[in-house]
């Protein structure tokens, strides 16, 4: 019986994943063209302002990932279906990666512009708290005594941690902040960004979102495969 089950297991995510990967690659190349050849250099900050086109999209993907965590965690707590736990874990892991590179790239941009790598400004502080909470999420998963506890406890942490996302987004509107105000989205002022800069920002956001979609699909499939392998291992022993 276990032999039959093992013969049916396929590791990986199939043609859809390859298509996403190819699309991400093509969009990534066009994105680099837009950032380095098409969009004009910003007059005050100069070429270092181009970090903006990776800094903002990566934090956006982090927010989307954490929204997935909260949604999947809620679904897991209601339905107790392990597939929601797989989705929450995959999204949290990828969200932490994207948020980390966004925070570090922001620090690198801040040094020449603000004269410091980091300051405890409301926006930066709230984003740091968000990062710490999702690191905590991963630690809870890693050290929980069993799989069910890991899923339940981390689901609660994921939902609570997500509450910080709107605070990060609105921090520069609510408090006096060194960080620039919103330049994209429904709450931004019209004309806050020149049109070619806006197009490049949106294109870059689409590119990083596709990369997220590919990684998310892959990690969810892996988590499912890991569970199947555990069952097969138990059947063998």
């Amino acid at each position: 019986m276990a032999t039959v089950a093992a013969s049916r297991v396929e590791v990986g995510q199939g043609a859809g994943g390859q298509l996403l990967l190819a699309a991400s690659g093509v969009l990534g190349l066009v994105n680099l063209y837009l950032i380095f050849f098409w969009v004009p250099t910003e007059q005050v900050m100069g070429i270092v302002q181009r970090i903006f086109y990776v800094h903002v999209p990566t934090v956006w993907v982090g927010f989307v990932a954490f929204f997935f965590v909260a949604l999947s965690s809620l679904a897991y707590l209601i339905k107790r279906d392990v597939k929601w736990d797989h989705r929450a874990q995959a999204a949290a892991e990828i969200g932490v990666v994207f948020l980390t590179v966004s925070i570090v790239s922001g620090a690198v941009w801040a040094k020449p512009v603000w004269g410091t790598w980091w300051t405890w400004d409301p926006k930066l502080t709230s984003v740091f708290v968000l990062w710490v909470m999702f690191i905590g999420y991963l630690i809870v998963r890693a050290y929980a005594p069993g799989r069910r506890q890991a899923a339940t406890w981390s689901a609660v942490v994921g939902i609570i941690a997500f509450a910080d996302v709107p605070i990060v987004y609105l921090a520069s509107e609510w408090w006096r902040s060194l960080h620039p105000e919103l330049v994209a989205g429904p709450l931004s002022e019209s004309g806050s960004l020149e049109s070619s800069m806006r197009i490049t920002l949106y294109f870059s956001t689409l590119t990083f979102t596709l990369i997220f979609a590919y990684l998310f699909r892959t990690r969810v499939a892996q988590r499912r495969d890991e569970d199947t392998m555990d069952e097969l291992r138990a059947a063998v022993s």
């Binding site: 276990a2 032999t3 380095f36 250099t41 100069g46 270092v48 970090i51 990776v54 690198v108």
Partner: protein, 77 residues
């Protein structure tokens, strides 16, 4: 593996192309920061993609071993 090649192809040409040639641009001395900023993003994503890729390979290997073990144990299945 394909993911790695694609990401590497995207990562490296970028920052060397950033500086305008032939005239002094605003903030040109910040090329090092631009290079670092883009490197951080791409190296971070490449490292994670590498980790995901390694996990997938390990899973494939383990599945093959398991199939062999099961076939040896139950030759009639």
């Amino acid at each position: 593996m394909m993911m790695m090649v694609l990401v590497l192809a995207l990562a490296f040409p970028a920052t060397t192309l950033a500086a305008p040639i032939g005239h002094e641009a605003a903030g040109e001395s910040n090329l090092g920061f631009l290079f670092t900023g883009f490197s951080v993003v791409w190296v971070g994503l490449i490292a994670y993609a590498f980790y995901v890729n390694r996990r997938e390979q390990a899973l494939r290997r383990e599945l093959e071993e398991l199939r062999h073990q099961l076939a040896d144990k139950n030759p009639s299945d």
